[in-house]
């Protein structure tokens, strides 16, 4: 099982900053539950046949979020004296 990102590391001018993204997990879980409930009720009323598809999309979205771990973006400005900005998802 893979988990959502725990930390995001931002590095600029030689200074690194660890952002504890895991603190947002409870909010994320709450938002996900509310979204699933709202979508479920709406689909049951409007399009009952689309409910399994909506659940699949929800789980795949969560998987997409979890799969962002390991993503790294480094941008070095054109100016030779400027240091690169590096963002890494852990």
């Amino acid at each position: 099982m893979i988990w959502p990102p725990s930390f995001v590391h931002v590095e600029r001018d030689g200074l690194g900053l660890w952002l504890p993204v895991f603190l947002l997990w409870p909010l994320l879980l709450l938002g996900l539950l509310l979204a699933v409930l709202a979508a479920g009720v709406a689909l049951l009323v409007l399009q009952p046949r689309s409910l399994p598809l909506a659940l699949d999309v929800g789980s795949e979205l969560l998987r997409l979020l979890c799969s962002t771990r390991g993503t790294r973006v480094e941008v070095a400005p054109a100016d030779d004296f400027a240091r690169p900005i590096v963002v890494t998802v852990h």
């Binding site: 795949e60 941008v75 070095a76």
Partner: protein, 143 residues
């Protein structure tokens, strides 16, 4: 394509042998080939990341040429393809039209997770190098 394989196909094209005979000959040829490449491929480590490097982009505001280095986990690509496979037809059409406008003729509804595995397999030994009109150099590879 090796010489023997080409000869069989030439004979088939010239009508000297039938399709069934050509198939028999080709399968006999394949069974003759030593399986030296198979263990190497199986033993090789599967790539975990897709890397995109853009270097030397120049424009009026940034004459020196900047650098962008992006590392994307393969798992993220897999998840994206799985999500794309769930898209309704109407949404896929809109995405296809937008890609077509950018000069990319791809039908996203036909990209399945199995296809991605094939692409990843091929990317293991492949590096894409592109020199752009603005002086940038783009390199895409797996690691």
């Amino acid at each position: 394509m090796n010489e023997e394989r080409r000869r069989i196909l030439d004979m088939l094209a010239a009508g000297k042998i039938g399709a069934a005979e050509a198939e028999q000959l080709l399968s006999a040829l394949e069974s003759k080939v030593p399986p030296a490449t198979a263990p190497a491929a199986a033993g090789a480590k599967a790539p975990r990341y897709l890397r995109v490097l853009v270097e030397g982009y120049q424009d009026g505001a940034h004459p020196g040429g900047g650098k962008v280095n992006v590392r994307v986990p393969m798992e993220l690509l897999r998840a994206g393809v799985k999500l794309a496979a769930l898209l309704p037809a109407g949404v896929s059409d809109q995405i296809n039209a937008a890609l077509h406008q950018k000069g990319i003729d791809v039908d996203v509804s036909k990209i399945k997770p199995g296809n991605l595995e094939d692409i990843v397999e091929q990317l293991r030994d492949l590096t894409v190098d592109v020199d752009g009109p603005a002086g940038e150099h783009v390199r895409v590879f797996c690691e």
